[in-house]
Every structure is written in C-alpha cells, then in structure tokens.
C-alpha cells in the first residue's frame, strides 16, 4: 500500500481565480454528478470559489420572505437544507426516486431535489416545518400520524406527510386505493405502508372535521 506515489499538497488560497476555468470545471462536473451544491459563505466561513455565480433571490417559504444567494444549478432541497436551515426536508436519493424531499409548491407536491431554486421565485413553498402552528398545534395530518403511531425510522415521514397534506386538500374523501395512489410517489424502505395508509385515512377524516 505504501508504495503508492501520491503527488500534491493542499493549497488554502481562497482568492477568486480563473473564472473561465471554473465555469468549465463546474459544467463538466454538473453533467456527471448533478446533485451537488455550493454552501453559503456565512455557513462555511470561506469565500466562494470558482464557478460560483450566486444570485440573490427572494423565496416565500412557510409564509416568510427569505432572501438567499443561490446558484443557477442549485436545487430547492439544497437551498432549504443548507442555506435556510430547514433540514426537515430529507434527501434520500437526490434524483426523484424516493420522495423524501417532497415539499409543496403552490400546494402541489414536488420533489425538492429535482426543482431548481431559481424557478420557484414568487411561488409559495411549504415544508414540513411550516405545518405546525406557532402555538404548537399540529396540522391535522400530523395529528393523524401522531394518533396512529406514525412511522418506523421516519426518514420518509416529512415527504409522506407533505404528500398527505396535498392529498386531503385535493380529495378529502379518498378511498384507501385513492390514498395509496396519492402517496405512491413516496418510498418507505421500512415498508410501513399499512400504517401510513391508515394515517392518511385518518388525516382525511380530521381534515373533513376541521373544514
């Protein structure tokens, strides 16, 4: 093992260099690994580096106006998690396969890992953190999940709950089959589907009571 030759020592220069080179490098990277992000300056305590062309945008998240610097290629999931501190939105696959990152955009459930942040300016974004009232009252869907004993590992829970919120809004009287279809864009690897479906039916019931 030790006979491997390793060349190079780290340089810690944080000055902005060859802009053009950086754009090329970023472009090449984005094509092969499109799930990447750049962190914000305050979080990482370092000056932004090559290829970072951040642009200040205003997002409407959970009823608040949030101003944030975003990259062109930045996904909403990354903005929420790494720049706005909203880590309730989970990344399970980075590529629209599992639904753990589901948020509502103008009430429509969307995979935040596959939405570019700059495309949702002016739209109302709701994340799992936005459901509970300021006084601690749970959203009827959350209360339903609570009363049914919820999930297992629950890494999928924020995404499922956002899909349930959209479901009860669109169809407050679903059959079990309809509920299953409404939630079929979310994956639960603990396969706690039976309990999730029971929770969804109860969520619909609570929502009807409230309406």
């Amino acid at each position: 093992m030790s006979d491997v030759e390793i060349i190079g020592t780290p340089e810690r220069r944080v000055t902005r260099r060859t802009f053009i080179m950086g754009v090329i490098a970023t472009g090449a990277t984005t094509s092969s690994v499109g799930y990447l992000f750049r962190g914000s300056k305050p979080l990482l305590g370092a000056t932004a580096v090559q290829g970072s062309v951040e642009r200040l945008v205003t997002l409407s998240v959970n009823g608040q106006q949030r101003r944030v610097d975003v990259l062109k290629q930045e996904t909403l999931a990354m903005t929420l998690r790494y720049k706005l501190g909203l880590t309730g939105t989970k990344l399970g696959c980075d590529r629209a396969e599992c639904g753990a990152c589901t948020v509502l955009i103008d009430g429509v459930p969307s995979y935040a890992c596959s939405v570019l942040t700059q495309t949702v300016r002016g739209q109302e974004i709701t994340t799992i953190e936005g459901l509970e009232s300021a006084d601690g009252t749970l959203h009827p869907v959350q209360q339903a999940v609570m009363d049914e004993g919820g999930f297992q590992c629950a890494f999928c829970a924020p995404g499922f709950i956002m899909s349930m919120v959209a479901m009860v809004e669109a169809n407050p009287t679903p059959t079990k089959e309809e509920a299953a279809h409404a939630l079929s864009g979310n994956l639960c690897r603990c396969a706690d589907y039976n309990k999730i479906l029971t929770s969804a039916m109860r969520a619909a019931e609570y929502s009807r009571q409230q309406a």
Binding site: G8, T89, G150, F151, C153, I161, R189, Y193
Partner: protein, 798 residues
Amino acid sequence: MAEKLVGQDIAPPDLRAKITGRAKYAEDFRVDGMLFAKLLLSPMPHCRVRRIDASAALAMDGVFGILTADDVPAVDAPGEACLTNEPHYEGEPILAVAAVDETTAADAIEAIKIDFEPLPFVLNPLDSLRPNGPNARLDGNTRVGREIATIKWTEEDFANAPEGTMPMGEAGAEWNVGDVEAGFAAADLIIDETMTHQSLTHHPLEPRSTMAYWQNGKLFMHTSTQSLARTRAAVAGRLSMDIEDVVLVGEFCGGGFGSKISGSTHMIIPAVLSQKINRPVMMRINRYEETYIGRARPGFQAQIKIGFRADGRITAMDMYILNDGGPYGGSGDNMSAGSTASLTYTPLNQRHRGVGVYTNTPPKAAQRGPGGAQIIGMLEPLMDKAARELGIDRLEIRRINAPDPDVAYGPRGSTLTSVFVKEAIDKGAEMFGWDDRIARSGERNGSKVTGIGMGVSPYTAGSSGFDGLLVIRADGRVYIHQGIGNLGTHSIADTARAAADVLGVVWEDVEVVWGDSSKHVPWSSVQAGSQTTFAHTRANHAVGTAAKRLLQEIAARDLGGSPGDYDTADGRVFRRSSPSTGMSFARAATRAMELGGRYSGEEVDDDLNDMTKAAAAGLAGQGLVAAAKDNYPREGGVQSWVVGFAEVELDVETGVVDVVHYTAVSDCGTILHPRSLGGQIFGGSIQGMGIARSQKWVFDPVWGVSFAKRLYTARPPGMLDVPIDMQWAAVEIPDPQSPVGAKGIGEPCVGAGSAALTSAIADALGGKCLCRTPLTADVLLAEIEGRPPAYGPLDLHV
C-alpha cells in the same frame, strides 16, 4: 396502581420530532467551519492503484486536504478498510477530499488522476470455482476455518454435473446429522432442484452520512447507526482510541436492516480526515454511493435435494449452497440457511455443504433474516411440490415437519427457549381462511390466475447478559437510559416499559434517554438479529427490580419495618399493610442523594460492563441511580416465527403479479407494543415480497460493473406493489425464559413474506417452481408462454 405499559399502544416519545421535521439525523447537523468530503470511487471491479496525482485537485481554491489509504488504520486480510489502494469492487472508496462545499470537493475528485492496473475479477461464486476461474482476491477465493484459501473444483466435478444442475466439488464447510443416504433410501419421493437466489442491496432510506470533529482530544461523531453503545465501541476500536474519548450522537437512524449494525467501516473517513486537517468534516453519502458501500444480502447458487416419506415427513435434506460473499466475506448466510432449514422442517437426516466464495461485488452483511430469508423463500415452493405429488394438503405438510418446543436442530442439536410455530400456523390458517382460499387456487378470471401460498419462517430473536441503567431524579420522574439504537423499531421506548412496569409508574413519568453517549448510556446489545426486545426487556426488568429494591430499603430505613414490607406504585414507595405510610419517588430520590454510596450510583455492581460503570459514575449523585446486569437464567437460543399467507393474481398476458391479500401470524412471545409489532410484521414481510418479485442486481459480465445503481433499477416495493388488504396476529404465548416474555420480531417476517409469494406464484403457475428469485415479469412470461427460460438456472446478477 398504574396500568401495565407492556402491551399498550403508546406513541414513541420521538414521534413528534419525526413528524415536525425537528428530528436531526446525521446529515442535519452543522458546526462552525464544517467542510464537506467527497469520495473517489473505483471505476473497476478489481484493480491496483499505482499512482495518484492529486496536485491539480489540491491546488484548487477551497480544497483543504486529501485522505488516502495510507492515512487510515490498516485492517488485516480479509477485512475491509475504509479506503484502499486495491479496490475489490466497482465503487469501493479509494480516497476522500475535503473542501469548503460539496461541489468543490467533487470538482477536486474529478481533477485527480489515478493510474490503475486492472486485476482479474469474478462476479459469481461458481465461476471462481472453475478449474481456471479467476479469484476475487489475490490471496484466495474463500475461507476455510479462519484461513484464506483457494478452492478450485476439477474438470471432473463439472463434467459429472448433469446439464442444468450445479456441480458439487470440495466444500469449504460441511455438517451432517444422521445418515443422509439412508434417509433418501427410506424416501418415497425425492425432489432435486438447482436454485438461484439474487443478491440485493439493503437500501435504507437514509444513506450512511457521518459528520465528525475533534475537540480537546475527543472525537465527536454524528452518524447513522442501528446501535449506539456498540457502534461507539467499534469506532473506538478501529481508531485504537479509549472508548471514553469517543462521543457518539445517533439519536435517529433512517433505517438499516442490518447494514448499519455498527456501520463503522466508512464512519472512519470523516473522523480521520477531520483529525488530519483540523476542521469538522461532513461526509454526505448519496444514493449512488450508498448502492456501493451500503451493504447487501448475499445471493446463493444451490443444489437442493429433499426426500419425503409418503406421509409427508422429510427423511433427508441435502443442500449445497454457494454464497456470493463479496470481497471481504462478512456473511455466512449459506451456512445459517442450513440450520434455519433444520429448525423449520426438522429433517430426520441432513447434510449441509457450502462454499462462501469471494466475489468482486459490493460487500455483504447481515440483512434482516440473513440466510433464513433466502432459504425459506427457496424451500417453501418445494414443500408445495412435494405436497402435490404426495396428495397432502400444502399447509399440512408444513405442520407435519414443523418443530415442537423440545426441538434439537442444526449441527449441534441446538435447543430453544420456546417454539409455538404450530399454534401460529393454525391461527394463520383460520384467519386467512386457508380451506376456502385454497379451493380457488388456479381459478382463472379473464387473464388473471389465482395463486395461494404460505411461508413458515423462523429467525433469531434474542440474546442476554446486557446492562440496564436508570435514574429517579428529585422531580420524581424515572429516567431510563438506553444504549441501543433508534432505527425505527421503537425499542428505545418499548423495552423501557419493562422497568417502568416493575416500578409501577405511568408512562408520563418516564423519560427515555438515548442516542448520545455523553448522556451516559449502558452497555447494550447491537440492535440487530432482533436481539433487543428480548435482551433489553430483561436488562430493563433487572434494573427496574434493582431500583425498586433501593426504594424499598430507603423507605424501610426512614419509615421502619423491613424492605420487603414495601411496594411501589404510582410514583410512591409505600407499606403494603398501610399504603398511606410511604414516600414519593421524589422524596426517595432526595434521600438517595443524601445517603450516597450504592443509592446514588457512587457504588455499582462489579459484574457490570465498564461502559455501564462509566455511565453510572457520570450520573452519580443526581438521584437514585440503579444499574444492573441481566443475570436471569437462559437455556437455549431464542427464535421467533412468522407464518405468512398470500393470495396473488398472476396476469398471464403481462406476467405481472398482484398481491391481493396477505395474512401473517407471529410467535414472538408477549406483545410489547401491538401497533409497532404490526408495523414490523407487515414491513418485514413487504421487504420479503420485494425479494420474491423485484429487487435485484444486474452486472455487466465483461467489465464487472453494475447496472442497478439506484432505487428505480433495484426496485424495492412501493405502496402500489403491496396489498391494501393485510392482517396480522400473534399467538401471544410468553417466552418462559424471560420475566417479560417478549421475543424479537424484525428478522423472521422477511422469509415469511418472500416465501408466501414464491409459493403463491408457483401455485398460480399450476405448481411449477421456477427455482429462482426475483420472479420478475420476464421470467414468468417466458414460462407462461412456453419459451426457453429467461435465464439459466445458475445465472446470478442478471
């Protein structure tokens, strides 16, 4: 007197955090100056790194450092290091780079030039056993005993195998019970099949991300693990550190299924990298990387021969199973399959042979019911075949061969604490309506044919000898400390109920403390092998009993009489003969602090593990502190059972299988938490259905690289793949060797779900066992349409 907590539906204490987004999983933590690591993964299935040129990468702005195999602790062969200069599978981590953000780290990875020397590789066990077949490792292709060895079968071995059957040469391991040849001689029916079971990735929804930093010589690690106390020990061991210098935080784990029992292999990367560059490091693992490093269940290539008497009793079972071992071993599924079969069918004579062969595929580890889930899914359709040929009811043939509580099974005649599988079969048959449904077997409705199946599946369900630790504080509440993990089974809360019930407190007066080693947690079992329910209801029962004794002593000391005159309930210790004489737990806790010594944790029993002693010392003086080891007697192993029943509809025009109904009944002793038990039974069963129907690996045989790198290609079951109509029950007979009576449940569900489907699908095909999994639509259609099979009988990773 408070109502007993064991047996009630109580939402776990962490649920609110989980459903409001406040629950912090490993990747949700941030610390000042945190950098991000990216891994460079091997592009080849087996190669040697000759030269690494990282100069361009390290000159990039924002790049802080690199970690290579030379920087990390060496591991003895055939063990797995976290980084390597001789990758043994496509996707194996070679080095890591830390940078200000993930994009920069990935840019740096792309800028690194590596000179690779390709080495021979092999993807499936049989190919490595051929006379001139390649080895996955330079030092051998298997392990015999503890030694790395090379086994090659002869040309004759291969020539002797009839077309389409598995050759059987020298075995790496073998055991015999009775005389298998005599058993076959006594048989009226012999079934002899060549079978293949796929390998499949665990794919917990949360990838194994870890963030690490160092402060004052201590390592702080936020990680995703199934176990807490034991992962801390594993990390300390890998880094040759004093365990007290590792602070491990793992309050939430987004699933593991055996892949994160300690999961310590790759946790070391951010730990060592952080130490090297003196900055906190977050290593976010994404799904693509998780597919490679996230562990997998080993596939089998097998020849299985079973002899039956006319009355259905199995006279002989002879299995030869090759294990797709991956490059580092890490599983003995092919051998545990033998003992699971011995327990399930109690053959009068048995021979079990196997070779665990190293392959250049992602590393293997225990996956929920390791070995058991595979073999039950493979054997149950063969039981059906025998039943049909002998004219015996398919349920009855399982019952005829099922064990009684006094069973002695496997190579060493192992015994068990309890076995109530026949009760589970009977209860399940009634709930499922076996007689009515089986009458509809083969019924055709349009293009759909009904199939009925069942699977009887045992697996390990407990261990013993671990520690319990609790504190009754001056607020009168009971703080139960748990060193197990929190991977979604709710055991952190449910096993704590055993202590609360001994003390007679209501759940609102109980606080569960878990998930952070700095909060002082006791030595615990790994949260795997379904051990925790049995092990930690016992340990918590022991510590509840110890705490009660201290309360009784304090009361007797202050209020007169002897300790035995006192009882506890509703947050008080009181005199049995005059319940108004007594004191609150709050008062008793204050007295314990005044008395000190063994009342407040300054002195603890010597038989406790050092981790528990250190935890007790950390809590000493904060209230009434009780610590106790589970010294309850136990004779024999612990196994639980799940019997699964399925009705399916097979569409003969499309090959698609619809699971119409599923019933499962468990023998898992006393029920701790009914709703959670149902979740485990259904969830595990559905994972089994994924094995039977869809999940698989596909490898390019020429280049040795994977085509199934993501969830949509690996195809775990989604909500529309499972029946809406499901029911569960348990026989609810307490295990006599636990004061609580509860056994674990996680493992056996998987084999039940898989086997119920392999059995039901064979039934829908008119009793034809296709002898491979997964039974995807292309495999089924080829059979239905009378075309040649989609794959050869021993083809793996296709």
